[in-house]
Amino acid sequence: MSARERAAEVAAQVRDPEMPMLTLADLGVLRGVEVHSDEEVGEEVVVSITPTYTGCPAVATMRDDLVHRLRAAGFARVEVRIVLDPPWSSDWISERGRAALREAGLSAPGPAPRRSGPIPLTLGPARSAPPCPRCGSAATRLTSEFGATACKALYRCTGCLEPFEHVKEI
């Protein structure tokens, strides 16, 4: 296994600090892993990540966790770079990530809106409500478009009466 493959494998295992059922790779924030070799200073791993939301406070922790894990795996020099373009989309959450979300009682996002032209104002009830991740009922209601983290909305199931979190489509 090459150094790059080894580094990529370690980076892909690092988990999201706020949704630890997901790895950074499954969340789609891990954008690239490269290894640069330099005769004088040795190998350097460069990891690229993109924030889910601009103000996401977990980015600093992701960076620290990546550095920590890669150093523990024997890579002495690790640099984490931020990539802003293209912006993160919930469509980048992998199938395995979606399954892990459901397993943890969270509702996975549907397809992100694709727009051309001006963004329509939505004054009515928001996008079609997701089914309850616990009982599967389609009778769910939005409690708030904003949840405990920037990427989640709050819903309530009117079937089983349980509240649940839904990862927003962006």
Binding site: P20, T54, R63, F146
Partner: protein, 278 residues
């Protein structure tokens, strides 16, 4: 908790060092783009976000219910994230905009801009700085603010500066949610009780003189913003206010008396410990 990650305490230790929000991003100003103009534009947009974020953060624990408290805090966080990128972008494009700090100061440029400028050096619109009022007030403030900011960011997605374009593209997704939140609450309060409607109309009347400043002299942008606002007013059955715009503009550093106390609270710790490491 799953044992797989319960054993590693680093999973729960939040990062201590301040990281550059543009770490690794190519901040070279593209040929043909005036660096000073780019920095000025980023400062305006960054200051709008920073000051609005500070006002929204003051709502924390004071909203009518928990969900709306979380919503306001989330919007404040989105705007703070946009402010960090935009202030960092301004500083990278034109280091001359960053206030000079003592030699060896550990304060990063984004913080120097946020904490070490005085009121007249801020370029935000005055709508962002006026004191908070009741819940109707923050709904109207956010509606006017996010309708204009969304239209502006939509345009900037095609900015020749790739950093500003990327920040704008990301911001568009976030502000879309803010605008929908404000629009829905505007409608809810307008069609709620006599009291909720009275408060909404009063807030709209009080904040309207600050609205024109959001679009400045840009007629095309103003028309676009007006069309969205008129849509909200029509659905809500609320008359478009006729109050005249307030003279002057925060874009030139002419602010209301509300900005000074806001900055005093926001900046006091950083200024008391200019060599502090956080």
């Amino acid at each position: 908790m799953n044992d797989e990650f319960a054993g590693d305490s680093s999973q729960w230790a939040f990062g201590t060092g301040f990281e550059d929000p543009l770490a690794g991003v190519d901040t070279t100003v593209p040929p043909g783009v005036d660096a000073a103009e780019l920095a000025a534009r980023c400062l305006m947009l960054g200051d709008d976000a920073l000051i609005m974020s500070q006002r929204l953060a003051e709502w924390c624990s004071r909203a009518p219910d928990l969900e709306e408290d979380i919503a306001l805090a989330n919007m404040a966080l989105d705007l703070l994230g946009q402010a960090r990128l935009l202030l960092s972008r301004a500083a990278a494009a034109d280091p001359g905009v960053v206030p000079a700090l003592p030699e060896g100061s550990p304060v990063p440029a984004e913080d120097a801009l946020a904490y070490f400028r005085d009121a007249e050096q801020f370029r935000n619109v005055r709508l962002a700085e006026v004191e908070n009022g009741d819940f109707a007030h923050v709904v109207v403030r956010l509606l006017l603010f996010s309708v204009a900011r969304l239209a502006l960011l939509e345009r900037l997605r095609t900015s020749r500066d790739q950093v500003l374009a990327a920040v704008a593209a990301k911001g568009v997704k976030e502000i879309t949610y803010h605008r929908d939140w404000a629009g829905r609450w505007f409608l809810t309060l307008a069609q709620g009780t006599e009291e909720s409607r009275r408060r909404l109309v009063a807030a709209l009347d009080a904040l309207w003189p600050y609205q024109a400043e959001l679009t400045g002299f840009d007629v095309e942008l103003r028309d676009e913003v007006d069309a969205v606002l008129d849509q909200v007013f029509a659905v809500s059955g609320v008359e478009r206010p006729e109050r005249a715009p307030l003279p002057g503009t925060g874009r030139d550093g002419a602010h209301t008396d509300a900005l000074g106390p806001l900055l005093a609270e926001m900046q006091v710790v950083a200024r008391a410990h200019p060599s502090g490491r956080w």
